[in-house]
Amino acid sequence: MAASIRQEIQQHIEQVGYLQPAVHQPVHAPFPDEISHDFYRALLRSDHDVGGQPDVPIPWQEKEEEQWELNTYVTCEVLAWRGVWNAEERRRRMNADLGQTQYLGHPYYGRWLISAARVMVDKQHATLNELIDKIDEVKARYESGA
């Protein structure tokens, strides 16, 4: 019984976290004179991993890297050795270029992975249709259990 109470309490604490006040203002292609200087600066602010942004407290958790995460890391380093990008361009792509929704939405190595795919397409090491075909092929193989 005690265990389930603890679980309920955990869920409760988590749920309270979602009640953190936030101001959401619907905006879609506003007229130029609706944009204040302050808001323009906020719009241009890029996401990055150097810290300092306000956020709700998140629990500290130890997590070992999974195999796909290690593979992603190695792939990104190999792309550097082959001259595709340097570490700063990688950070720019995975922290700033993704935009806030994807930056906050992906797992950490998910951002590395999507940025690696993007740089290959941007610099024409693979075409987008080659990438789409490959994802499609792997997905079909995975779903068939082969």
């Binding site: 241009l44 150097v50 810290g51 990008w85 700033a96």
Partner: protein, 117 residues
């Protein structure tokens, strides 16, 4: 990253490959510096929470291409000095508890972000 740059760093390391390229550092250890609040567009490594704050140069670290250039593969841009600057936590966060007046935070800047304070 250009293959030219890959060749430049191979066996030497990055940022070691930029040694001797940035001339004389403008600041030295112990200098008080203010972080410039330059326009934000596309990319920087200069943390927002340090803008306008005053700190002290803790270490003159190395020479390298500034992040805003490096992030677009512009490894041929002029290298500049990088510094680790130490701030009092109270100077960075308005609501920092006065119970811990000695707490500090150190972070890194390229020279163009610093001015004498």
């Amino acid at each position: 990253m250009s293959m030219h740059h890959v060749e430049k760093i191979t066996g030497v390391g990055d940022p070691q490959c930029f040694e001797g390229e940035a001339g004389k550092p403008r600041f030295k250890e112990g200098d008080r510096v203010r972080i410039k609040d330059r326009p934000d567009i596309f990319y920087t490594r200069c943390q927002m929470f340090t803008r306008g704050a005053i700190g002290e140069v803790a270490v003159v670290t190395h020479e390298s291409v500034p992040p805003e250039d490096e992030a677009w593969e512009n490894e041929q841009a002029p290298a500049e000095w990088f510094y680790i600057v130490r701030f009092r936590m109270q100077d960075l966060w308005g609501d920092y508890p006065s119970t811990y007046p000695n707490d500090t935070l150190q972070t890194e800047f390229s020279e163009r972000w610093l001015e004498p304070a």
